[in-house]
Symmetry: C2
Amino acid sequence: MKRPWQGQIERPPEENVPRHEPTNPLCPGSRRANGEVNPKYESTFMFDNDYPALQPDAPDPGPGDHPLFQAKAAKGVCKVMCFHPWSDITLPLMQLSEIKTVIDRWAELIEELGPKYPWVQIFENKGAMMGCSNPHPHCQVWASSFLPNEPDLADGHQRAHWKTHGEVMLVEYARQEAVRKERVVVENEHWLVVVPYWASWPFQTMLLPRRHVLRLSDLTAQEREALASIMKMLLTKYDNLFEVSFPYSMGWHGAPTGPYLQEDMSHWQLHAHYYPPLLRSASVRKFMVGYEMLALEQRDLTPEQAAERLRNLPEVHYKDKAK
Amino acid sequence: MKRPWQGQIERPPEENVPRHEPTNPLCPGSRRANGEVNPKYESTFMFDNDYPALQPDAPDPGPGDHPLFQAKAAKGVCKVMCFHPWSDITLPLMQLSEIKTVIDRWAELIEELGPKYPWVQIFENKGAMMGCSNPHPHCQVWASSFLPNEPDLADGHQRAHWKTHGEVMLVEYARQEAVRKERVVVENEHWLVVVPYWASWPFQTMLLPRRHVLRLSDLTAQEREALASIMKMLLTKYDNLFEVSFPYSMGWHGAPTGPYLQEDMSHWQLHAHYYPPLLRSASVRKFMVGYEMLALEQRDLTPEQAAERLRNLPEVHYKDKAK
Ligand SMILES: O=P(O)(O)O[C@H]1O[C@H](CO)[C@@H](O)[C@H](O)[C@H]1O
Ligand SMILES: O=P(O)(O)O[C@H]1O[C@H](CO)[C@@H](O)[C@H](O)[C@H]1O
């Protein structure tokens, strides 16, 4: 962290996004690539991704002719969900009731797609730096016919811990962090946000319920309200860190669905990961390159340092303060 | 790949790098951050990284008080190696004999640091997009007191294959690819470059010897000459793809060293990975974000498509052709 930075400088995010842009396919009333016209929606809005990476009818490649050359069809669906009718708003600046609606829609997605697909990945890429090409606030859902690598590892590790220690790993982890405090960023009655002990992105966080919860759809109304509140607090702190709309990728991991709905999945604990790319300022990012790709993540600051910085930031958004 | 790209556009790499810049700490005769003055080197030049991520005397954190909170000291050394005295040259534009010298230095590094450290990671971050902050052609070496995650996985998988199938996985893999041809980018008597069957970066490649070789230091003089030649060809094709100095991170994986020098490591096969970030053009990259971070890499083009494009590119560098 002491090295003077002479490398790539990121452009600041566009600050003058118009509230409504008729040519933006995510706006209410716009025409999308497939010719459909969006409703004049006033809350959230969900539609099938016009450029889906997963399709329900992907052809099966058939058995390989050699043990080292094996492939399988990846079937699934991809959806997009707009959080709000305005393009110039982001989650931390939305009302609590509006964030609560987003959470309810997420839970419905698990209920709707869960019975058919083993994995329903809800994720948000925010900011151009994170590959997001549309400033309109939105997330994506990719549901798949298989357990992708990361959830598969998460399932294996949680299962092994459950077998060996007879406890739910992430429930115990959250309990420990709540006592230790040094990595806690923000907490309320139902939820806890920590910079995880193993964090590799500088301001990476993990959002966990205190109660043992398998899936988003299992959250009570109070837990959803408390979730809206803690999300607003975390994302406000993120924006306040460098006084910029903070880029990140985030997503939910809960117990697998599909055939797993019939199994005891008690080793799972619902959680969200936030992976923000920024390191030193709004324009100097962390590069996960050479050593990271080939060997191991190099940590530029400790989780305790990151948590302390985030914890000490105001809970009022810098844009609300300016008003 | 069909979606019109409206997202982040990368800046083209600096084309007018001066050959010699007295304030650049990597140039011959320059003063570095620690006050030392570089020799007026005429070939390669190696020095200790002035901002090392690993240090030989890192303090031991001691045993943790809980099974979920366990840490260990990461000890090691970090070095930088300049490939050439000029700042305005890159490997594909260097003479074969100059590339051969780089390879000899790499082999010496394994011999020098190997006895002391279990893992010697040689890697190159090329281009600002890959976190490189100095245009002068150089690579890095981080030697560590432990096996980092990626080599640890590579060791485990190769060992398991060796036990189960009684063959060296990557020797068999290269043999298969050499017959199948569809993923081969370039090959010569001693080496093979393929877009691996499992590639996740669009133009990712793997460089493998045909003979069973454990470490860089085991390469014969002929193999080193053939390596210089195939590196020049691969990197020329990379530059020719979008007619730009192609960014990437690359690095070598060979059998672990340190205490492993005493063990039978026959399950290992030496290889290099190249991970380039570009996808559609010199200014549109692949983003490894949301779904990739939380679930699984989404492949934007198939390894066969990527290999075919690279294979069909000229073996003369676009800058040499222009002359
Ligand atoms: O070593 P450098 O050039 O200071 O830094 C670069 O390479 C390192 C090793 O891959 C990364 O950890 C850094 O994020 C990157 O900027
Ligand atoms: O889905 P989008 O917005 O087209 O694309 C974005 O998110 C995807 C899922 O994380 C990534 O694979 C793409 O690289 C990224 O640009």
